[in-house]
């Protein structure tokens, strides 16, 4: 062992400071470990992190208007949108130039669609104008104010220009306002008209129903998990297979099966009528509404509740219950004061899992939810697939993500995240 006692620095065998050679060897170890997980890391980065970042940025991005109508955006800044008067000729002229360029480059429909989210009718206005504008000579054909108003009287409406001005900045809070049933106007944010407010209600419904589903899963799952943890091996294995069985069938099949079970001419109603618990006319409506969604999703998410509960309960030795009873506790007290508190981490883990899965669930509400039982994710899907308003979809998604993170944080504050156990 070479160590120089004269100086305070410990040296390793070859004379380099001990700290340095330790660091070097640790770094090498880390590099090797990193290399080993590199494929997974890259995959997560590309397939998970990047889409999320891209989605987050889409919810505030608004480059399209500025890119397609650069001159208009520039000259409209000097116009006082609140004046109640139409912009002056230079703005119209700039717009004529922009729309001609856009029409030639065939990009006018995109911006038309974008502005149409904010004020319906703009799309047709743009399309009609673009067709005409292709033939104009910008230098000599002025003045454009009259010309444009002649093409479509919409250009004589102050609101159209207000819309263009409000939505011209590169970044916008418009999508987020839309996501909470508000809209951006020249006066600032204001509530959407009554007939268009649906998203807040959807958010509320998503949260409330996810909570109900989580709660139903706890109620139904707890006894099953308890049985799993306490039955003799053979029966427990059989039960475990039954719990896992749903995973072997397609989600679609399971959901569709609920359709068969719950519909008005379905199995459950038939049985109830047979038992004359309900009359033939009074068949219950259990599908295409909240009940359908809750029942089907509780069933589908149940294993995610049972498994973490089970793995926690398995670690609770039966001697605790015996000890409690020997100390004079009744069965119920022993359970409630001794067993239950120790199984809470399992309930917590299961609840977080089920709640987070439920809040973003899409297929099941879509199939059995009707209009009353759909979730916010169905709306997101609608905006991505049908209305193509990706910005709004991104804003909705972001809000959902933030909501989950806040819940997670609250849970951490109240229960403590290190109290969550998925096993051992």
């Amino acid at each position: 062992m070479v160590s120089s006692s004269s100086t305070n620095v410990l040296l390793s065998a070859d004379g380099t400071p001990l700290k340095k050679s330790l660091n070097r060897s640790l770094r090498q170890q880390k590099m090797r470990a990193l290399l080993l997980i590199a494929p997974l890391l890259i995959f997560i980065l590309v397939a998970f992190i990047m889409p999320i970042i891209s989605m987050l940025s889409r919810s505030v991005e608004n480059e399209l208007v500025g890119q397609t109508l650069p001159l208009t955006v520039q000259s409209i800044q000097s116009w006082d949108a609140m004046s109640g008067e139409l912009p002056d000729e230079p703005v119209y002229r700039a717009f004529a130039q922009d729309i001609q360029n856009a029409a030639k480059a065939k990009v006018h429909t995109k911006v038309a669609l974008r502005l149409n989210y904010e004020k319906s009718g703009i799309a047709s206005l743009f399309k009609k104008t673009a067709r005409k504008a292709k033939k104009w000579d910008i230098e000599n054909d002025g003045p454009f104010k009259e010309k444009l108003i002649k093409v479509h009287k919409g250009w004589g409406e102050v609101e159209v220009w207000q819309t263009i001005k409000t939505h011209s900045p590169t970044y916008t809070s418009g999508y987020f306002l839309n996501a909470v049933d508000m809209r951006k106007t020249v006066q600032g944010a204001e509530w959407q008209p009554e007939d268009k407010t649906i998203l807040i209600k959807l958010f509320q419904r998503t949260l409330v129903m996810s909570l109900i589903i989580t709660f139903s899963c706890i109620i139904l799952g707890y006894p099953v998990a308890w049985l799993l943890a306490n039955l003799p091996m053979r029966q427990a294995n059989l039960l475990m297979i039954l719990v896992l069985l749903p995973f072997w069938t397609s989600l679609l099949v399971r959901t569709s099966a609920w359709k068969v079970m719950l519909q008005q001419q379905g199995v459950i109603n038939d049985v109830l009528v047979q038992l004359s618990l309900i009359s033939n006319e009074g068949r219950l409506i259990m599908i295409n509404n909240e009940i359908g969604t809750i029942v089907a999703m509780t069933h589908i998410l149940l294993p995610f509740m049972i498994l973490p509960m089970y793995s926690v309960m398995q670690t609770i030795p039966p001697s605790y219950l015996r000890a409690a009873k020997s100390l004079g506790a009744t069965n119920w007290t022993a359970f409630w004061r001794v067993y239950f508190p120790q199984s809470v981490p399992g309930i917590g883990a299961g609840s977080i899992l089920v709640f987070i899965l439920a809040i973003g669930y899409y297929i099941t509400p879509e199939i059995v939810g009707g209009t009353k039982g759909v979730f916010i994710s169905n709306r997101i899907a609608y905006h991505i697939l049908k209305s193509l308003n990706w910005g709004l979809a991104a804003a909705l998604g972001t809000i959902l993500l933030v909501a989950v993170l806040i819940l997670y944080w609250t849970y951490d504050k109240i229960v403590g995240i290190d109290n969550v156990k998925l096993g051992g």
């Binding site: 001697s319 605790y320 015996r322 020997s326 506790a329 120790q342």
Partner: protein
């Protein structure tokens, strides 16, 4: 402290049988009476049914047949929480989500005692095991020995008359175990409680108990005080199980009321005390404790039989010498002698004559 009018014992097992699977009897025929204030230990090899008996007494297992009485009342149909029996588990079973004080106050809470009384009793119990300053800790923050004390305090805090302990010291190291043995017996006697204690450590059983019940194969092989158990084992299982023991096999050639003459398989003849042999010609296992073997012929009573032995090994152990001999074909015949000034040290290969007094040599069942 043993109750004098012990006509009705405090704890009584009356022809108790237990089977878990309906095919084999784990407890075969248990008859046991424990007077009030006694420290009784159940000792036996693994799987002999000790825990099962304790669980039946605590009420966590039901007896398949027979009756268990507490204070003269059959408790077969009384649920565990109404039996008022304190219990210390092998893994302590302290509730991990409660502090030490909460653990101790649990049995008092379920008995609906008021807060002041609870606190007073908890403090008293903690002081009893010298753990007063650990009140606020969680069990996980205590060492094994400390957890053990808390478990003991918790079993005693509601002042039960009967306390059951299932290998409570199994997880502790030797030194701590000896200390705790001492403390447990001290406490038990001071409080005058009846204790049924389970262990498979025979030293523990012998040092702690008023009486020991040796279990094997679902039966009590012998129920006696520690000294009787060691010196007068009633059958070969007990002789083998308790302490060190030398055995010689043979047949009874002559049987009188206090002397049995045994012809060993090697042809040698010895005299023994008949214990559970009854007929001439019967096979027998003769048992002699290593420290009762006499190497010095002069100290033997005149006319006693001696055997020729060959020294195989001599081990110096400080206070005693341990000599391994070949005697009548048995190569594991151990002799223990005290390291005294007149004691000779033997060398391997030496041939010597050994003997013993008839009363120390017990003819048991084969």
């Amino acid at each position: 402290m043993v109750n004098n009018n012990s006509s009705s014992a405090f704890v009584k097992f009356d022809r108790v049988q237990k089977s878990y699977d309906g095919e084999t009897l784990v407890v075969k025929d248990l008859n046991l009476e424990v007077p009030k204030g006694e420290f009784l230990t159940m000792l036996g090899p693994s799987g002999s049914g000790k825990t099962t008996c304790l669980m039946m007494l605590a009420g966590f297992e039901t007896a398949t047949h027979g009756e268990i009485m507490l204070n003269g009342i059959s408790i077969n149909n009384i649920p565990p929480h109404k039996r008022g029996i304190g219990m210390v588990f092998q893994n302590y079973a302290l509730f991990p989500h409660m502090s030490v004080a909460e653990n101790l106050s649990f049995p008092l809470e379920v008995r609906k005692l008021d807060k002041a009384t609870r606190e007073e009793k908890v403090n008293r119990a903690l002081d009893m095991v010298e753990m007063g300053e650990f009140k606020g800790r969680r069990p996980a923050q205590l060492s094994g020995g400390q957890q053990q004390r808390i478990a003991l305090a918790r079993a005693l805090v509601f002042e039960p008359e009967l306390v059951l302990m299932d290998e409570p010291l199994g997880a502790l190291d030797k030194q701590l175990r000896e200390k705790m043995q001492f403390e447990i017996t001290g406490l038990a006697h001071r409080l005058g409680i009846t204790v049924v204690y389970v262990t498979h450590d025979q030293t523990e059983a012998l040092t702690m108990s008023d009486r020991v019940a040796v279990f094997n194969d679902g039966r009590i092989q012998q129920l006696a005080t520690p000294d009787q158990l060691y010196e007068e084992p009633e059958n070969s299982f007990v002789a083998q199980f308790i302490g060190e023991n030398n055995t010689l096999n043979g047949t009874i050639s002559d049987l009188k009321s206090d002397v049995a003459t045994v012809k060993l398989d090697s042809g040698d003849i010895i005299d023994c005390k008949p214990v559970n042999v009854s007929t001439i010609g019967e096979r027998t296992q003769v048992s002699i404790r290593p420290e009762r073997v006499e190497l010095n012929k002069k100290r033997l009573p005149p006319g006693s039989h001696t055997l020729t032995a060959e020294v195989l090994e001599f081990i110096y152990m400080g206070d005693v010498f341990r000599t391994r001999l070949r005697v009548a074909g048995n190569e594991d015949f151990i002799v223990k002698t005290r390291n005294s000034s007149d004691q000779v040290r033997l060398n391997p290969g030496e041939k010597i004559e050994i003997g013993w007094s008839t009363s120390c040599c017990r003819a048991l069942d084969a």
